[in-house]
Structure formats: structure tokens, C-alpha cells
């Protein structure tokens, strides 16, 4: 998603299916659609379903209303059911309205071993919601996801398109508070690790 300049926490009205009775790509996205379709051979246009659904999801504020799936399948001339299957298969597509910031805590084994359950608990307590729920003001949606591929720097959390790694309760909550209060957040490793470079023998123990 295009980086949204972080603003002060003001309540946001969640959109619903009703808001998307019909869906069409915006002028700007229409250009991207053409660019995406060009990547695939003439008779293999159906392959464009993933990038197009993603584009549609970004346009709709992070989730995919039915009308968007219908529009994309129609555009690619594939059965509606095929589009619906793809959209339900990937957890990266949200079929229900979602907050402005989607906090995705990785719960797969490496992150779990490195304390993701504590992160989850801390976040749930702080935001007063459970996993899978959205805050009343529509700012945060919290979910636990399967491996997000950042095991080297476990535990990791993905917020919208950004990764936050090497977290502990404190550094994670700081990020959430930063977002709430409209400050810039620091992506990547919370302990200043370069990429996924190994730490000194006892550094990770100290952490």
C-alpha cells in the first residue's frame, strides 16, 4: 500500500458491503490494471487475478468487497466462483471490512518460540480487542497470521505493508503508541540488527 502519512488517531468510519454496491477501478488504478494485464500472455490473462485483487483491495481500504471480486473476474472473463476461491484461499485478502492499520502478528513456530504470544497478549490488552477484531474507532485490526517469512528476526509483526522485527512487548507497544499518536515508526529490526545478520553470541540473550 502507498505509505499513508501517519496522522493523529481520529475515529474512522468502517466501510461495508453497502458502500461498494458497485466497484470499478479508479482512473489511476485503471492505468495500473493495463500495466498488470500486459505482463501476461493473451490467453493467460486469468493469471492476473492475484495482482488485480490486490489492487482492488488497496483501493477499497484494505479489504475486498464482493463487488470488487465480481468486477475482477468479469474483467478477466473467469467464472465468479474461481475468483471467490482465490480470494478466500489467501489470508492476505480480507473479505470483511478492516481497520486502517492491520496488525498481523506472526504466530508460527519460530516467532512463537521467540515470544509472539506475549506480543499478542500485550497488544490485545493495550487495544482492548481480541485477535480478529477491529477497534471501535476503526484504526486497528488485530490478527494472528501464519508465517510471514521473517523467522530470522523473530518475533515479527506486519502492519499494513511494513515489517517490524526482533520485537519484545515494550518495543512493540511503542510502535503501536507511535501510530496512535501520529508519529513516524521505525520499520525493520527493533534492536538495530542489519538485515538478518547474526548477532554476537550473547547479544540476543541480553535482549
Amino acid at each position: 500500500m502507498k505509505k499513508v502519512p501517519i496522522q493523529k488517531r481520529e475515529p474512522i468510519r468502517l466501510t461495508s458491503q453497502e458502500d461498494f454496491k458497485t466497484f470499478s477501478f479508479s482512473m489511476e488504478n485503471e492505468k495500473k490494471v493495463k500495466e498488470i494485464l500486459r505482463r501476461y500472455p493473451e490467453e493467460r490473462q486469468a493469471s492476473a487475478i492475484l495482482p488485480l485483487l490486490d489492487l482492488a483491495q488497496r483501493q477499497c481500504g484494505g479489504w475486498l468487497p464482493k463487488s470488487a471480486i465480481e468486477a475482477v473476474t468479469e474483467m478477466l472473463a473467469i467464472p465468479l466462483m474461481r475468483g471467490y476461491e482465490v480470494a478466500t484461499f489467501y489470508s492476505l485478502f480480507n473479505l470483511n471490512p478492516i481497520g486502517k492499520y492491520h496488525v498481523q502478528i506472526c504466530g508460527t513456530t519460530p516467532c512463537m518460540l521467540r515470544g509472539s504470544e506475549d506480543l499478542k497478549k500485550a497488544c490485545e490488552n493495550h487495544l482492548r480487542i481480541r485477535c480478529g477484531e477491529t477497534t471501535k474507532d476503526g484504526i486497528f485490526t488485530l490478527s494472528e497470521v501464519e508465517c510471514i517469512g521473517a523467522c530470522v528476526n523473530a518475533p515479527a509483526v506486519q502492519i499494513n505493508d511494513d515489517y517490524y522485527e526482533d520485537l519484545n512487548e515494550e518495543s512493540f507497544l511503542n510502535i503501536i503508541v507511535d501510530i496512535e499518536e501520529g508519529r513516524e515508526t521505525k520499520q525493520g529490526s527493533a534492536i538495530g540488527r542489519q538485515g538478518s545478520a547474526p548477532l554476537k553470541r550473547d547479544e540476543h540473550v541480553k535482549k
Binding site: K66, P79, L80, M81, R82, Y84, E85, T88, F89
Partner: protein, 694 residues
């Protein structure tokens, strides 16, 4: 051609065959769930695991192509353990509700678990629960039982051509569903019940009605369209409990239409179970056979032979047709008619009314021209073959006639018959494509032949067939050529009746003349043998004898009703659209005093003093062969030599019309079926409900 060893037996198989198919050829059984010989390979159930030498893990035999030098073992401890493991996983979420499951007794999962499974499960957590889905009035769902083999999804996508089913979610959350609880709109949907290896999809009308081991099975033939699909009638006592397909690769492969599968409940209602005579009070009174025959004899006494006409209906067996034909000849009438829909077909030459390409032959075609037909409703299995051919070879389909959604792309040229003239003269853009095809075929529907100018359209079609490569020789003696000229008959009795010449001779009256002569009092008595699809108002003033099994349109106006047997209640011979002579066996007895149809005619002939010269079924069948030797060859197609037909005259510029208004109600059985009424309402949306009389 690769050679491989399976369980120490050597076999050479065709390129592209799988290990599973090779094992099947050797008679080695490998258990499967997701594999189905008519569907694409999914390879997701893992039940077909076998051991392959030089591979350290078992392979899925359904998806592994057989290759040179493979050594396969299907009976090793590794395979046994793999099968047990797969079954244990499949059963983790499968409910143990076999005692209340309709699939019980004929369930693949049950059978395979008995044969290959373990005795206990180690899973002690809760099983997942999946909400049931609404698939419409025909298919009952119990989605907890689903093992995600995806056969139903592949069937809907590939065979039925309605991509409405899908698997949403993934892993343990995966569910088979339609998009937002939509009814499945296919004429073949019932086949999903057969291919479902567990009890997730079962028959709604049959639910909790019976157990497979209580039923006796009788092979029979579908009489609700002209295709003549092989079916199996399952009865308990006298009642038809369900109808299933039999495999016949030449005709219906593994499938049957929903109409024949589910309309059987119509056999229970509104049956004619005893003879009736209309009294002076204009009401029907139940009488004995003697009295009914007496009344007929009394009436016919004063009527000269050629003042009588006979019309046979759509589901009549050849035995009854020949008996009635012989009787009418003895009475001295040549006014016999089998084309109750007014089609302008003639009984000769034979190639002018047959599906000459044969149904399996559709797969060889490289161009298909549909003329005035909606194969999806008129013959769902022919349509499935066209779709199959489209999927295999990309068969281009062009249609002249009303537009219908057929499940494959159709280039719809319009519904104006004059388009055909332009194609014949080479003045249509489609002609280039047609000229470049090696094996083109055309299907002439009843919508094109039920017109005043039906004979001219036949003539035009013959000229087209000869001009382009539809028919590749005009020499009649050559039979082994490509014949792409096809007429799609919509009824089960029509080809048989035409083969037997149940059609007026030069002096006889056809349907239209019979109707006119009735009002002019030239025809005073009409014998309706199961004929219900004619305008009864025009017949009313004549003395009407109705012989049939349902109190439908014909019986409503009859003066004498002779109760006959439905197709499940008599041994009968039917000829399908290709000219394939097929036998149906008797599955149950007719209700009450109803009798087999040829016997009724035989008994009546005696009362009229014109004894028909046959007393047993064998003798009637010998008579069939005497009239037309084709009836001697069962289950094969005898190709008809190409001859001239049709009549040159002007084509009317009237658009082609559809002949079927409502797929689910086309005959006296389906019109009285509650299931079919539900289908009409729920699937067709109620707007196209049949105009059922009374």
C-alpha cells in the same frame, strides 16, 4: 510405449497413461477417492499411494505417468501403512454417522475403510463442523461428511460446464460451496450424487427412503429424451425408488440427465390403473377390460376402417408400435402418425432422421453447426459430448436458431432460417471456416423440422451437407465415410416408429389432415397410444381411445381409457437418435389392472375379430425383425446410407423457435412429478412453467 512392472507383472501401456490405469488393466485394484476416469486428475486424496522402486516415498499412482522401466508394488507393508495413514486422516473429520447416512452400503469411504483402514482412530479432539449448503431441490448436502475430493467441482466445471461450485478457504477451513448459496443450474447436476465418494451429496427426493441392499436393480433405457441413456431402475416391491445411470461409453458415458433421474416419482401419481369408459353423463366410469373392449368394438362396428386414425406418443416401445400398426392395417386404415409434434420428417431414407455422426462421433468433429436446436434441453448428454469435444479439441460451435446458454462458447449467427441459404451459397462469413474443416457436423433440431417448411429445410440442409464436407461421399453403398448430418430427435419412440413406418402412406392422413378430417367428420375414431402432446381440443368430436399410463391430456378427452404400462413396467425395445436398438427390462409390475401395451392391443384385436398373429413377446419381437431387420441387432449402430431427401421449395423467413419450454416437464411422467415441479419453480425461476392442463 512404456513398459513397466506392477506387482511382478509386466505390462506395456500407451504413452500418457498413468500407473493407476496400468494397474487397472492388469486387474490390480488401487483404492481411490478423488480419481474418476471421466474427470481431470486432482491427486489430492492420496488414497492411491503405491510404492515405486528407487523412490524413497510412496507415489500417487493416479497422477504419475507410467514410464519405461518403472517397478511398482501395491501390496507392500509401506503401501499398507500409507493407506492406513491416509484413511486415518480422512476419518479425522468424517462423522461416524454411517447408520443414518444415505450413502451407507454403497459408500467408497465405508468400503475402503473396511478393506484398508485401521480399526481405531487416535484422534480424540472435536471434529470440525461445516454448515450444510443449499444446492437446490435435487441435491441434499451433509458437508460434515465431505472429504474434499473435489470430484463435484471438477464435474461442474468440466462435464456440466457450469462453473458454479468451488472450494473456499483452505486447509482445515476448506468448504465446498456455490457462490452465495446458489442453486446449481445444470441438467446433469444429479450425477454429482453418483460421483461423490461419500455421503456429502445425496439425492434429496430419495433421502431416508431406502437402503441400497433393499433394492433390486433392473437395467433399462432412458425414455425421456431421444438419447436412450443406459439406466438402472432400482425398485422395492412395486415402487421405483430411484434411477441411476449405467455406464455406456457409446451413449451416455457415466451420466444421465436430471429428468430421468428424478422424475420417477411421477410414476406414482395420476396413474391409470383400470379401464374407463365415458358414460352418457360425460363422466368417466371405471369398468372391466371386457366392458372397455366391448364398448370399442361396438363403436368401431359402424365406422369404416379408413375413418379411423392412430397416433403414437413419445415414450412408446417398438413392440406396442408394431402391434398398433398391424392392427390399423387389419382395420384398413392408413392414417397412422408418430409425429405428434408435427415434425416434417419422413420415414425414408433412414439417414434423414438419424443422428448419423453417432454420439461418440461428436468427438471426431472439428466444426459443429446447430440449426434450430437447444441441445442442452433437448438432449443434455449430446450437449455434454459437444462440450467434451470443445474441451478436448476446441470444437467451434456455430448456431442458427434461438440463443441458448449451452455451457461452451457458441458463435450465434441469428435465428433467421435464411442464414442457411446464405451459407449454402457461400455468402456468409462463416463459410471460410466451414470450408477449412475436415469433419464438420450439423445438428438439425426439431425447431427446424416442426415448421411448415420442414421438408425444404431438410432439402437445404442436405445440399449444405453435400456442398461442404459434412457428408464425404454421395455414393450410397459407401458406409465408412464421415457423415456429419444429424437430426436431433427429442423423443424416445420417434426413431423406432419411423423405422417401423408408423407414418401415413401416400393415401394416409398425417397429423394435420387427421385434425382437419375430424372436424369434417371424415375421421370418426382416433386411437391415441400414449399421445399427450397434441391439441386435444381438435380431437374432441371424434371417438377417442386412449391407451397409456397417465391421466394426462389424452385421457382427459378420451371416451375409452385402456391402462397401459410405463417404461419401467414392461420389457420394451427403443431406438435412440443414432438408430441404436436398445432393450429395457421390466423392473416392476404395472399398477392395478394395467397391462403391457402390446398385450392390450393384441387382446383388443381379438375382440374386433382381427386376431394379431402373435401371442408372446418373442413373437412380437420376431415380427419387429420381419418388418425391419435392424431390430435384430441390439446395442449397435447400423449406419444409414446417404440418399436424397427433402423437397425443394422456399424457406419461410420465420425465425426458428425452441421446442422445449420447460426442460423439467416434457412428458406425462415428468408433468406429474413433484420433484420436477420443484425444479421448474426453483431452477427455472417459475417463469417458464409448463402449461399443464388441469
Amino acid at each position: 510405449m512404456p513398459k513397466l512392472r506392477i506387482d511382478d507383472q509386466e505390462i506395456e501401456v500407451l504413452e500418457g497413461m498413468t500407473v493407476l490405469q496400468a494397474a487397472e488393466l492388469l486387474g490390480i485394484e488401487i483404492p481411490v477417492f478423488c480419481y474418476h476416469r471421466k474427470l481431470s486428475i486432482a491427486g489430492n486424496c492420496r488414497m492411491c499411494l503405491v510404492e515405486m522402486e528407487k523412490s524413497n516415498k510412496p507415489i500417487a499412482s493416479c497422477a504419475m505417468p507410467a514410464s519405461e522401466g518403472m517397478v511398482i508394488h501395491t501390496q507392500t507393508p509401506m503401501v499398507k501403512k500409507a493407506r492406513q495413514g491416509v484413511l486415518e486422516f480422512l476419518l479425522i473429520n468424517h462423522p461416524l454417522d454411517c447408520p443414518i447416512c444415505d450413502q451407507g452400503g454403497e459408500c467408497d469411504l465405508q468400503d475402503i475403510t473396511m478393506a484398508y483402514g485401521s480399526d481405531a482412530s487416535r484422534f480424540n479432539l472435536n471434529k470440525r463442523a461445516v454448515p450444510d449448503k443449499d444446492f437446490g431441490p435435487l441435491i441434499e448436502t451433509a458437508m460434515n461428511r465431505c472429504i474434499h475430493c473435489t470430484r463435484c467441482i471438477r464435474f461442474a466445471n468440466e462435464i456440466a460446464g457450469v462453473p458454479e461450485l468451488g472450494a473456499v478457504g483452505r486447509g482445515e477451513m476448506m468448504e465446498i460451496t456455490t457462490y452465495v448459496q446458489k442453486t446449481i443450474t445444470s441438467e446433469l447436476s444429479g450425477n454429482m450424487i453418483d460421483i461423490c465418494p461419500v455421503g456429502a451429496l445425496t439425492s434429496k427426493p430419495y433421502s431416508f427412503r431406502g437402503r441400497s441392499w433393499e433394492l433390486s436393480n433392473t437395467p433399462s433405457v432412458d425414455v425421456m429424451d431421444g438419447v436412450g441413456s443406459a439406466i438402472r431402475v432400482d425398485v422395492r416391491g412395486r415402487e421405483v425408488m430411484r434411477i441411476l445411470p449405467r455406464q455406456n461409453d457409446a451413449v451416455n458415458e457415466d451420466w444421465i440427465s436430471d429428468k430421468i433421474r428424478f422424475a420417477y416419482d411421477g410414476l406414482k401419481y395420476q396413474r391409470l390403473d383400470r379401464p374407463y369408459v365415458r358414460g352418457k353423463d360425460r363422466h368417466l366410469h371405471s369398468v372391466s377390460w371386457e366392458e372397455a373392449f366391448g364398448k370399442i368394438a361396438e363403436h368401431l362396428q359402424d365406422i369404416p376402417g379408413d375413418h379411423m386414425a392412430a397416433i403414437v406418443g413419445d415414450m412408446v416401445d417398438a413392440e406396442a408400435i408394431i402391434a398398433l400398426k398391424d392392427l390399423m392395417a387389419m382395420i384398413g386404415s392408413s392414417h397412422i402418425e408418430c409425429r405428434q409434434d408435427g415434425a416434417r420428417t419422413l420415414s425414408s431414407p433412414r439417414c434423414s432422421y438419424l443422428f448419423n455422426t453417432t454420439i461418440a462421433g461428436i468427438e471426431q468433429a472439428d466444426f459443429c453447426l446447430l440449426i434450430g436446436t437447444n441441445p442442452r434441453w433437448e438432449a443434455p448428454l449430446v450437449n455434454a459430448r459437444i462440450r467434451k469435444s470443445y474441451l478436448l479439441t476446441g470444437l467451434p460451435v456455430v448456431s442458427v436458431g434461438p440463443f441458448h446458454e449451452l455451457g461452451y462458447p457458441v458463435n450465434h449467427l441469428g435465428d433467421d432460417p435464411l442464414i442457411l441459404e446464405r451459407i449454402l451459397k457461400g455468402r456468409h462469413p462463416i463459410c471460410t471456416q466451414l470450408q477449412n474443416s475436415k469433419h464438420p457436423m450439423m445438428i438439425l433440431g426439431q425447431g427446424a423440422l416442426r415448421r411448415e417448411d420442414g421438408q425444404s429445410i431438410l432439402f437445404l440442409a442436405r445440399q449444405m451437407a453435400e456442398k461442404y464436407a459434412f457428408v464425404q461421399t454421395t455414393k450410397p453403398q459407401l458406409l465408412e465415410h464421415w457423415n456429419g448430418f444429424n437430426v436431433l430427435q427429442t423423443t424416445a419412440s420417434r426413431v423406432g416408429a419411423l423405422d417401423l413406418g408408423f407414418i401415413p402412406s401416400r393415401t394416409g392422413y398425417g397429423l394435420k389432415e387427421i385434425m382437419e378430417s375430424i372436424s369434417q367428420k371424415k375421421i370418426k375414431a382416433v386411437y391415441l397410444l400414449g399421445a399427450d402432446e397434441i391439441d386435444m381440443e381438435l380431437l374432441k368430436s371424434a371417438f377417442i381411445i386412449y391407451q397409456g399410463h397417465h391421466g394426462d391430456r389424452g385421457a382427459a378427452v378420451a371416451d375409452v381409457i385402456l391402462p397401459g404400462a410405463a417404461f419401467t413396467e414392461k420389457p420394451g425395445t427403443y431406438v435412440n437418435i443414432e438408430g441404436r436398438v436398445q432393450r429395457a427390462l421390466k423392473a416392476a409390475s404395472p399398477p392395478g389392472e394395467a397391462k403391457e401395451d402390446w398385450k392390450i392391443i393384441r387382446a383388443l384385436s381379438e375382440k374386433l375379430g382381427l386376431e394379431l398373429p402373435y401371442n408372446t413377446l418373442e413373437e412380437v419381437r420376431a415380427r419387429l425383425v420381419e418388418v425391419n431387420p435392424l431390430f435384430d441387432e441390439l446395442d449397435t449402430v447400423q449406419r444409414a446410407p446417404w440418399q436424397e431427401f427433402g423437397e425443394k421449395s422456399d424457406i419461410h423467413a420465420v425465425p426458428f423457435k425452441s421446442v422445449i419450454e420447460n426442460f423439467y416437464m416434457t412428458d406425462s411422467i415428468s408433468r406429474h412429478s413433484i420433484t420436477m415441479a420443484k425444479c421448474s419453480l426453483e431452477i427455472l425461476g417459475g417463469q417458464k412453467r409448463a402449461n399443464v392442463d388441469g
